[in-house]
Symmetry: C2
Subunit: 204 residues, 2 copies
């Protein structure tokens, strides 16, 4: 594998050693820029490698395929390709509760909330960022969740509506801090919301 | 009523005539600044009038009380103090459908969506704007909706959870444009979401 250090303005972290060291970070910076400019479908491993000044094989080496680069570029605090199948595959009668509790746990922690909030902020401001988030939902979330559900009518619509509810709860509870939602306990929120998610994902 | 033109940098619209003309606009600009800085509770008609360089009686003359100044300052495309009681007071069995359809109609129109989206954007970025939105929900929405509902347990929590769902739908459907939610018909969305809002507001 040939490795060249990019000379075309890679984003340099504070820990970067001169002449190399943060190749992974440079690839991610290039990937973010490529996904934002070209969208998920337009971006390629080859193009990301070129922008980062490295061999495409190195991108594969660090991340795997395009979806893994994409997920890594979003800098999420967990890997949805691992977590989602686990959430979907448990007891079907507790699907709504598992999703609701997982979502609350992500958003209640400022550290894990930050990357999602950043994604959401930029998606409400820039069409490029909205396209990124759209791709994330379409490529990473929808298919994985749908695969674990019974084939109910409007399955994809019901998944996006579930996501819309949980996202709205997160926004009003943790970001805008609207009362009494902001001060309610997780159990109080779960008692009302989980049956809805259960109904949506179960198809009733 | 004494009227003085402020000399302390009021926001001047393009159509403002020198020496007066857009007193109403100047009051609203001052109100936005006061609400953002001091919060809903901290802001006063007197303080707004002072910042706008006008007599408090003129603020009352143009708007009425503090709540009306607040609603006007948000520049919403409809008056929630008029619309909400109407939505709540119809057939109780169709409450969920009325709220869902009204919300979709507001957000599907770019002109009426804009001020809400602006409010939401700034509320996810600045704590002052979040405080404004919080006040809006607490002072303008919650009380008016709660007044028209049966006294179910957790009534206020259920109203904010209804709002969270509708807000999330609006975001994913009209702003991020996530499929298949973005292309679904209103009837398809209403068929799934309205029963949830009905359940929340009806207390089951």
């Amino acid at each position: 594998v040939t490795r060249r250090v990019s000379t075309t303005e890679p984003r340099r972290g504070p820990g970067r050693r001169p002449g190399g060291g943060d190749t992974r970070g440079e690839i991610l910076a290039a990937a973010r820029q490529q996904f934002a400019t070209l969208g998920y479908d337009g971006a390629t491993i080859r193009g990301i490698a070129r922008a980062a000044g490295v061999d495409p094989a190195l991108v594969h080496h660090y991340f795997g395929g395009k979806e893994q680069v994409f997920v890594a570029a979003l800098e999420l605090p967990f890997d949805p390709t691992v977590v989602l199948p686990r959430l979907v595959s448990g007891d079907p009668a507790a699907l709504g509760e598992r999703f609701t509790r997982f979502f609350l746990s992500i958003w209640s922690n400022p550290g894990t909330r930050a990357p999602f909030l950043a994604l959401l902020r930029s998606a409400t401001t820039s069409e490029a960022a909205a396209a990124m988030l759209r791709s994330f939902v379409a490529r990473v979330l929808l298919a994985r969740i749908a695969a674990g559900l019974d084939d109910v009518p409007d399955r994809e619509l019901r998944i996006t509506l579930s996501a819309s509810h949980l996202l709205g709860v997160a926004l009003l509870r943790y970001v805008i801090k609207v009362e009494p939602l902001a001060s309610a306990t997780d159990d109080e929120v779960v008692a009302i919301v989980a049956p809805t998610i259960q109904r949506y994902l179960g198809g009733s």
